[in-house]
């Protein structure tokens, strides 16, 4: 069987990132958009860990920071979602147009 190198992991990370980006761009439901963002952050983590396999442990430390960022982003985003749902009774992204004329 083919030997598994760093490139394989990077390709898987790229594909996960692209799937997450498709979710962010095409879906209407804000909850699914947030979950796609989490998937994209996880894909970035996979890339960082793959390159940390070549260049030392600094990539793993950055992966920890990205995990902290993902937690903060999910908390604030879901808080905004709850506030928006209370005002407009919808969770669709294209009906979020309070600042648009």
């Amino acid at each position: 069987m083919l030997e598994i190198g760093i490139l394989h992991y990077v390709v898987v990370g790229t594909l996960l990132f692209i799937i997450g980006m498709v979710g962010v761009i095409t879906r209407r439901n804000v909850v699914i958009i947030f979950m796609s963002i989490e998937l994209m952050l996880s894909a970035v983590n996979l890339n960082l860990l793959a390159f940390s396999r070549l260049h030392g442990l600094h990539g793993q430390v950055f992966a920890i920071f990205i995990a902290a960022d993902a937690a903060a982003e999910a908390a604030v985003g879901l808080g905004i979602l709850i506030a928006f749902f209370r005002n407009r009774a919808t969770v669709n992204m294209d009906e979020v147009k309070l600042l648009r004329w």
Partner: protein, 173 residues
């Protein structure tokens, strides 16, 4: 220490991760999407283990699959959606969005293929045993703690996020 049966586990975990991600994007019901995302993130944690990162894999399981996804499910319980299956799933500009995403995908894959031979062929010698110790030394070490200040900034970011989430979700400020 060399891992056992690397190609088989790599392809299996990658297939599970990609399949879970695809199901997450395709499903109409957000609860199904969250469950598929949990499967995908667990498979990604397996891939992290294969990259000699057991600490990040544990963080992935505990924090993403255990914490953040439970928070997502909790919020889905708060914002109940009755008209889920009669509403449109995709927004109006989804064709343009798919085209732009496909262009970006081609660009990224092309860049990867073109730069593949510049990667170092030989991975570093890493051990799984002292991984947590080494990460801890990089984060908090006396002479080797390169990331002490970014760590403090991350803690302030988390504090701001806590306050922001409470303020956003409060009924009346």
């Amino acid at each position: 220490m060399t891992p056992v049966a690397t190609p088989f586990f790599f392809y299996m975990l990658s297939a599970i991760a990609l399949g879970g991600a695809l199901i997450m994007v395709i499903k109409v019901n957000p609860v199904h999407s969250a469950l598929a995302l949990i499967v995908s993130l667990l498979a990604s944690a397996g891939l992290y283990l294969m990259l000699f990162a057991p600490f990040i894999a544990a963080i992935q399981i505990v924090l993403y699959a255990g914490g953040i996804l439970v928070m997502f499910l909790f919020v889905m319980m708060l914002v109940n959606i009755e008209k889920l299956y009669v509403e449109k799933m995709l927004n109006r500009q989804w064709i343009v969005g798919l085209a732009a995403t496909a262009a970006l995908a081609l660009l990224m894959i092309g860049a990867l293929v073109r730069s593949a031979r510049t990667l170092p062929q030989q991975p570093l010698h890493m051990t799984e045993q002292s991984n947590v110790q080494q990460i801890g030394l990089l984060l908090y070490g006396n002479k080797t703690g390169y990331y002490l200040f970014p760590f403090e900034i991350a803690s302030i970011l988390l504090l701001v996020a806590i306050v922001g989430a409470v303020v956003m979700a409060k009924r009346r400020v």
